[in-house]
């Protein structure tokens, strides 16, 4: 079994209103000195069997087509084990 983790974040130049709202809440709840918060998404994908080259390439493709929108987001793909 293989586990792949895909993290998706808005590109740095795209405004993140959710992150900004969380930043405000952290401050109101007593955490001082928060200079920025960006909110992203994490996908934990468990696969049966070993991750071969074909499925690895397919995952990379779908991370850019389905899991993220390359116009506004970047993704990182990590094979955990």
């Amino acid at each position: 079994m293989a586990r792949v983790v895909v993290n998706v974040m808005l590109k740095p130049e795209i405004l993140d209103p959710q992150g900004r709202a969380v930043q405000g809440a952290l401050g109101r709840l007593g955490l001082t000195g928060v200079s920025d918060v960006r909110q992203g998404k994490q996908f934990v994908i468990d696969l049966e069997g070993d991750l071969d080259a074909a499925r690895s390439a397919k995952l990379e493709e779908l991370a850019g087509e389905l899991l993220s929108n390359p116009v506004i987001e970047d993704f990182t793909l990590t094979v955990v084990d």
Binding site: I14, P17, Q18, A21, N69, V71, I72
Partner: protein, 225 residues
């Protein structure tokens, strides 16, 4: 002969009935299309209505672009089929890369619902020919993720090529870059618009009849083709 305009219903579509009604009032024949059918029923044009297709899961419009009906619409749109995407439909068109850019969460973090003044900036597209250049219209706007974003180069191109079809007036409701409310592709057959012209076609329920022009534009273009 009246123009046959398809309206797609996805799970979570809200405004498909209003869009169909607007098409009828504008003199066209509205044809219901189902997201799961790879069949366009020989329609002459398609409207992707507002709502929350697939619950807005993942990203607005991200799942809808893979619906069986969308693969046909994407293929035909590249060949010139007129397609109007309203609100969630606009998001689907951007996710499908039929239009550049993306729609992101409103910069002020709130859902907004109000009558919105727009200025028509393009009268060449299939969906805006019945308006006059610079005409101001008022139609309803209702969105949570209506902020239009694109890189500077794309924004410059959209304005230079006259592909911005409408801009927000008297206040930007959602943080859209350069007050963009709607855009078209270079061919002028695919149009995405965040506000809702289908809700402004009858005196009883709308703030104006200003939305009718989007539908009559396409219908007269198709009938005279």
């Amino acid at each position: 002969m009246s123009a046959r305009i398809g309206v797609v219903t996805f799970p979570g579509s809200l405004d498909d009935r209003d869009a169909a009604r607007a098409i009828s009032i504008a003199g066209g024949e509205a044809v219901s299309l189902w997201h799961g059918d790879a069949d366009l029923k020989n329609v002459d044009a398609v409207v992707l209505p507002g709502g929350f297709s697939y619950g807005d899961y993942l990203r607005c419009g991200a799942i809808a672009k893979f619906a069986p009906v969308m693969s046909l619409i994407i293929e035909k749109a590249h060949q010139g089929l007129p397609v109007l995407g309203i609100c969630n439909g606009f998001q689907i068109l951007c996710e499908s890369h039929l239009l550049p850019g993306a729609l992101t969460r409103n910069d002020h973090q709130h859902f907004i619902c109000r009558d919105q003044k727009l200025r028509i900036e393009n009268t060449d597209s299939y969906w805006t020919r019945d308006y006059s250049m610079g005409q101001e219209i008022v139609i309803p706007l209702k969105n949570g993720e209506g902020g239009y974003v694109a890189d500077e180069k794309t924004l410059d191109e959209l304005f230079a090529e006259g592909r911005v079809i409408a801009t927000y007036q008297d206040g930007n409701p959602n943080g859209s870059y350069r007050d963009i409310a709607g855009i078209t592709n270079s061919r002028g057959n695919v149009v995405g618009l965040m506000p809702h012209p289908e809700h402004a076609v009858e005196a009883l329920t709308g703030p104006s009849l200003d939305g009718l022009g989007f539908f009559t534009s396409a219908i007269s273009s198709l009938v005279n083709a």
